[in-house]
Amino acid sequence: MNARTSSQITPKSGSSVQAPTDTSRRGFLRVGAALTALTVGGKALASSGADGAAKLSEGRMGVLVDLSRCVGCRRCEWACNDANNNPHGKLEECDDQSVFATLRRPRTDQFCVVNATRNPLADPSPADPPIFAKVQCMHCEYPPCVSACLVGAMEKSPEGPVTYDASKCIGCRYCMIACPFERLTYEYDRRFTPRVRKCELCLHRTREGKLPACVEICPVEALQYGRREDLLRIAHERIAAHPDRYVDRVYGETEGGGTSWLYLSARPFEQLVDLGLPKLPDKSPAERTERIQHAIFKGAAGPLAIAAILTTLHFLTRKGGHA
């Protein structure tokens, strides 16, 4: 049971919240398939590509977020800032709920933010409390940022987190273009040494045996740190035990090929897109580009084909025949 890997996980078929495959996406795949067949004639390439290339470690970790438990106390924001040496005030300042008036995004000096479906101050009716969601780097299973980075500054560590190495980075910001969650931030204001800033799942703490700061501080156990496969099992058990309390879906199980952060919710995830949980295909966006790249360049097939065509044309059109 525990041995299943993310690529074998199938979407829950009976789920009411399972997003229907829309036409544009089906079309995208159809064009992709047609092109693959056209350019190469297909078979050798089927085995290449992102999911064949990257081997994920068995024991990689993740965090399960139970949105039905989150009360929007924002202690996690404070702890995150504290653990990452980002500016922060006193812990009590987290109780300021006015920040929920706008949807916020992670910044260079704050790697996680909690958003709410509506401003609790504007309408404090307890009958319909807002949903709060903490968002940060999702630590994808097959991270597009890692695939995009041309100098290997982004890496998927064996522990699960996607890490950034400023000493390798050249600052092209293609990782930011590639991120399907748009969670990467850039220090534009540093003149010569700007860095990409993001959550690294407190790798510096977990390597010392500590919990990620946000998980440690959460007073309502909305956050749970553990092996990703265990968390998935727990999540599905929780759904099974309380089908009335959760929609039958774990966000992050398959989104974008799967993420290390997993979300349980009472509200359909379609209603939480604005909080920072976008609808994504079951495969990593990187898988598609890598398939195209490998199709063209595997064994230098594309370049060699061009060279062969050019040579043939060169000799066929040669006049005088002084060979």
Partner: protein
């Protein structure tokens, strides 16, 4: 007054250009120089004070016009180099030879400024050498492939251009002052390069075409990895193919566009008939692109959207109608494509159309997930981009005046009989000084000095 300024090197007795009668600084060139100077100042500002101070880039819009115009459009518009080389050197269409060197020069300068544009945009430009070292290589990255190909191709372009320098300087190396001692070694090196390159040039030309195909297409693959950001009218796994086909299609129009401007600017008769012949290919390359574009939209079920008429369909309509359909009509009409005016209009439309396509893909049709985020290029960004274009024009002109690039400009290389001077005046070239546009064949040029040009007068 100021128009009589000229680059000192042009008047150096030994480095005198083959055609030193032509001034470098016309009034139009003074404007270009001013734009380049402002651009240089803006560039310095970015280098000293960073991206945050100089640009309006943000987390939502990590890429702006430096990537959209300087890099993506720059690479596309430099496609004249490899497409012309293909025609003249691979297919042996010898009559197109007069177009090869100008196209090569444009490509060489274009790619040089693409590299500079990238360096300007990189947050850690001082670390860009990482790309060249295998320990850093990440071959799954599309950008890695683009970077390596562009670097290799830039080198190939310089190698391809070397024979032009050899032709100009072999037997005529006269370095100033103390450096004169190096005259002979330099001359010998040039002769050696000329001799050995001559033997392998076909290989370099093939390599150049190969590298071009590779990175022109990969530039399209770059944006395939985005999800939910690029509008579906452009976001397709066929992007690499579409980018490659549009690069093919923009090659000859760019050569025509640039040839007409350059010849006008130098007051030369122009290559009208040759350009008309070249123009015959354009409807085919454009139609191929159009067919794939429509097939792609149809296969992905996007065609019905064209009836909606929202922002994106309007952008696509402008792009395809003016950048593809109208030029197909112009260049498939024998009478129209024989006239410089229509050649210029048709070519300019393709050039602008492809530029618009690249901007759509990288900027206009790119909407970040962050609601309400906007990107308007800053003054510095615009100044740097315009400055780069201006500097390209300046270097082009300096090289064209001093090296045998444009045949009609250098008597001893004009193998061609002059073509009848096209008397259609281009109002488009308003910034060109009247004397260079209207001046047919300057009577001040002694007939004996320019037999080719003198032939026109008779």
């Amino acid at each position: 007054m100021s128009a009589s300024i000229s680059i000192p090197i042009l008047h150096h007795p030994t480095l005198a250009a083959p055609d030193s009668r032509r001034r470098y600084f016309t009034p139009g060139m003074l404007v270009v120089t001013a734009i380049a100077a402002i651009g240089a100042a803006a560039w310095l500002f970015r280098m000293l004070f960073g991206l945050g101070a100089a640009t309006n880039l943000s987390n939502a819009y990590p890429w702006g016009i430096w990537i959209g115009i300087d890099v993506a459009t720059g690479v596309a518009l430099a496609a004249g180099g490899f497409t012309t080389a293909f025609l003249a050197h691979i297919l042996h269409r010898e009559r197109y030879h007069p177009l090869v060197r100008p196209a090569l020069l444009t490509a060489m300068l274009g790619y040089t400024f693409v590299a500079l544009g990238v360096a300007t945009d990189l947050g850690r430009f001082w670390a860009m050498w990482h790309v060249m070292l295998p320990p850093f290589w990440q071959p799954n990255s599309v950008l890695f492939e683009v970077a390596i190909c562009v670097m290799c191709y830039l080198s190939v372009l310089y190698i391809e251009f070397l024979p032009v320098a050899c032709e100009r300087f072999i037997g005529r190396v006269h370095l100033p002052g103390r450096l004169a001692a190096l005259n002979q070694p330099v001359d010998r090196a040039l002769r050696f390069a000329d001799k050995s390159l001559g033997r392998f040039m076909t290989i370099f030309i093939m390599l150049g075409i190969m590298l071009s195909c590779m990175h022109q297409s990969s530039l399209g693959t770059l944006m395939v990895i985005t999800y939910g950001k690029l509008d579906a009218l452009w976001h397709t796994p066929a992007l690499p193919l579409l980018f490659l086909l549009s690069a093919f299609a923009v090659g000859y129009p760019m050569v025509i566009f640039e040839s007409i401007i350059a010849h006008r600017s130098f007051g030369l008769p122009g290559e009208r008939d040759l350009l008309a012949e070249l123009g015959r290919f354009i409807p085919f390359t454009l139609a191929l692109y159009l067919a794939v574009k429509i097939a792609d939209l149809a296969l992905r079920g996007q065609l019905p959207r064209l009836l909606v008429g929202d922002y994106y369909t309007q952008m696509l309509t402008i792009e395809v109608l003016f950048g593809v359909v109208v030029p197909i009509l112009i260049f498939s009409n024998r009478r129209l494509r024989a006239q410089t005016r229509w050649q210029f209009l048709g070519a300019a439309l393709v050039v602008l159309g492809v530029a618009f396509n690249r901007l759509n893909v990288f900027l206009f049709a790119y909407s970040p997930l962050e609601r309400g985020a906007i990107y308007r290029p800053s003054v510095s960004e615009i100044a740097v981009t315009l400055g780069a274009i201006a500097l390209t024009v300046m270097i082009y002109r300096a090289i064209a005046l001093n090296l045998p690039v444009i045949e009609q400009l250098h008597d001893d290389h004009a193998h061609h009989a002059p073509r009848a001077h096209d008397d259609v005046h281009l109002t488009v070239l308003a910034d060109m000084p009247p004397q260079t546009i209207a001046r047919p064949i300057t009577p001040t040029v002694p007939a004996a000095e320019t037999p080719a040009l003198a032939g026109v007068k008779e």
